[in-house]
Symmetry: C2
Subunit: 572 residues, 2 copies
Amino acid sequence: MAQINPTVGSIAGNAKAILEWTEEARGRGCDLVLFPELSLTGYPPEDLLLKPKFIGDNLEALDRLSSKIKGITAVIGFVDRKADIFNAAAIIHNGEVAGVYHKMYLPNYGVFDEQRYFQAGTEALNFVLNGVTLGIEICEDIWYPEGPARVQSLGGAEVIVNINASPFHMGKSLVREEMLATRANDNAVIIAYNNTVGGQDELVFDGGGLIIDPSGAVIARGRAFEEDLIVADLDIDAVSTVRLKDPRRREAKLKTRLDGLREIVLPKTKGKKAARPKMSPLKQVAGTLGPAEEVLKALVLGTRDYVRKNGFAHVVVGLSGGIDSSLVAAVAVSALGPESITGVAMPSQFTSKESSEDAKALAKNLGIKLLTIPIKDTFMEYLRTLKGAFKGRPEDATEENMQARIRGNILMALSNKFGWLVLTTGNKSEMSVGYATLYGDMAGGFAVIKDVPKTLVYRVAERVNEEAGRAVIPKRVLIKAPTAELKFNQTDQDTLPPYEILDKVLKAYVEEDKSVDEIVSMGFKRPLVRKVVRMVDASEYKRRQAPPGIKITPRALGKDRRMPITNGYSNE
Amino acid sequence: MAQINPTVGSIAGNAKAILEWTEEARGRGCDLVLFPELSLTGYPPEDLLLKPKFIGDNLEALDRLSSKIKGITAVIGFVDRKADIFNAAAIIHNGEVAGVYHKMYLPNYGVFDEQRYFQAGTEALNFVLNGVTLGIEICEDIWYPEGPARVQSLGGAEVIVNINASPFHMGKSLVREEMLATRANDNAVIIAYNNTVGGQDELVFDGGGLIIDPSGAVIARGRAFEEDLIVADLDIDAVSTVRLKDPRRREAKLKTRLDGLREIVLPKTKGKKAARPKMSPLKQVAGTLGPAEEVLKALVLGTRDYVRKNGFAHVVVGLSGGIDSSLVAAVAVSALGPESITGVAMPSQFTSKESSEDAKALAKNLGIKLLTIPIKDTFMEYLRTLKGAFKGRPEDATEENMQARIRGNILMALSNKFGWLVLTTGNKSEMSVGYATLYGDMAGGFAVIKDVPKTLVYRVAERVNEEAGRAVIPKRVLIKAPTAELKFNQTDQDTLPPYEILDKVLKAYVEEDKSVDEIVSMGFKRPLVRKVVRMVDASEYKRRQAPPGIKITPRALGKDRRMPITNGYSNE
């Protein structure tokens, strides 16, 4: 299983990678190599799929690629075009496309829009390679007990190969593994589950491919958040032994043909091949990645791929001396190396000595360059300019937002002048309640921790220090009270409930669609819940203009959650 | 047909409106009144549909509403919940829900995401009211020749009632009317097509309900872009006469039941009713709304509803003296009245005398207040602040963007201080090629002309003056060369091709998914086409952070067009 990192739209680049990994697999004696779902186009191609030329380019690339693949059979994800387009898998054998499977279950929820583009396939497909029967599937197909695996295994498949582009969220890999173990066991098959890896806008694909035997045990496991070639020699005889005991299968054997199942028998493989591979040892034991660890890895990979795949060489981060910007800078350093990051401190009259010290200490610990650009004079100039218009009006949040927007302008000016990408530093708790300034601290190209609740920000920051074996993020940053420092003696908790409470209420409301009554019954005070709900509902317009960020929860604030702005519904 | 303007989420408010309009129809002697698709929840409710309480609230409201409806039968769009949720129409008769139809064709393209939420219905439904058989349908159902209308009419339906939330784009009303005439004729039925009206975020529903006889002729027509009660007395005998000649129908009559069709016979209507209504005269003749006229109406309604439904009383617009901001201010005045708009002139050292004069003349002509807030000193202060960071670097677009962002900050400061909504003024040509400053002129809550190409901006602006009978938008604004005035002697055409060419290339590329080769073969120079395509592709990240704007073309820049930002595909 080639767990590769394609780039959406880079058909030629992806084809080249597929060929290289195919050669590597052939060199290691493999009979079959799997590539991820839509590996030729990258996933998800979104509205590129509406361009006829894009589909044509992908078909031409598949043809060219097929002619070069010999001595090994390859399963490659691509877009097929008949009367409509299909999310498809090609079986490449002896230099040509020997069979094509069309995905039958098209996800159209959460971040997925597959029914916007694809027609669903109507036929399951088995193929016979060297006497072994393999069922072919794509991603969502395997999540349903009534899916193609049933008819495939009844039809004789000893192995199900399932190719995926399954995006990460916290804890998902365990759910996935349990589901696959159940499916393998229920159908008495080996399942080879190959996942893509890499970042694509809001999504991170975490790899972690699995080969699972009919007892539900893991035979091989791919690296998490990294490319990998997962090589295993499968014990097909063991499958037969299990099956001899299963009366359903004897019955199925009697039928000449199962409804909705097609079978292709591949001819003998031509071309040179190395000796039979040894099964690779398990590369990771299940459950070793803790929540903070897997989130940190997802943030690093998501950031690296967004920056690199969009052609940036350098990023810039505003450093306030607070926990959010400290974590974002640390993630960026892990993703890109310290020489690719510039930190910018932008102190005002409200910036404490501690904050300035902490920003400096962080930059030093990370080994990144720090610019200091004070904003006080510019702020004063704005106030002078607006004096007439604001006459007779008291100071309020306007003046706070103005400071945040000056900082946003300065970062964007640096971005424009030097071609740097601005990373924003807002966390999910802030983004949910709108405790952020549109065009201010929200200004930038990529919002690294947009889906990380504040309480988790602390845990991931601690993880950064654990992995480094030292306080890269200064200890004081981890313990001081969070503040926006947009006026004197301000703290977040002047406006917001304590984050331990806020994050639980937000999870229930934003991720779980619970009502106010239900959240109150969880043990929270009604006025607090109503206040939080009102803040979330009132800040939809801000989120609509926020930069994309990395999904790490079951429901992120992006294409995962599509709320109307104009909305008369009172959730209170 | 009650062509009403619901608000998404305002279940109680929508129910109240439905009851009032029902009483009005009953008072005018109608047997049956239709409300639009999802009239109880507003359309589209988007992810509100994922909240179980929202669905429950809508079901409770339907029950309460039903008990109040007597003396008339009503068809009301709502969300039904069985094992899954359905886009549904309730037939309310004698104070209760006498039947429910589930939409069978769920659009999931363009701006539509119905398969994200709803299960598709599997059964067509006829109901018999006072001896007349009516087929009930929802929106998309009528667009397919093989849709439920066929089985409904074969099953005896003399009238098809179709309730809609069909969003506007230029020229769509004619396409719709032709389709309905064909469908009525093919099935030998009267079609009563009721559409919603009003603005919802990016969408404007244009009303314009139609009743069409079996010959394809329009019997009644609702107002465009306004609420309306369309009253008509239908000649059912004429339908029978047509049908006697049709052999298909004789055959159908022989069958006791048609597959996939259910029929409900309603008991006698209880309650008081006025005398039989007179058929209303045709309110508009087809084709009277020219392109500029219908676009102007859509912009006015879309702006009014976005502002009002989001609870704003006042808007603010930056006035440059150019055509875009002039049109936006004029639309806002038509939508909200002059007392609800403040214009802001923000001159710099690059602002010409003519621009300042034109902004002043426009404000005077529109009768709106004009603030003048110069930005030069603030700009100079930024330059001083960034002098060190920018050392040794020549001036470039950075300094231009800084000016735009200062203006954005000033408008947002006024918004924050006074609770005004900022209207942005960028047109579709600019937004497509990224000729706009993120957080600068793109900063604001609603982008009125975001989907209006520059060449059309001129035509709509001329229409404003025609309707006013005087040059509300000063003549010079309509003829001078467009310029961003961010440096001396700048014009848009320094950077962009002439708009007459640009807009044609953009339509082919953005709206029609044509390839570079195809556009070149239309008669444009390859280097120009490649340049435009490159600009569009490179500015996806800006559009992702743009405020919503009103869709007026077949493909708008919003949820209508979902391109990846990270995108290695070379369209060149």
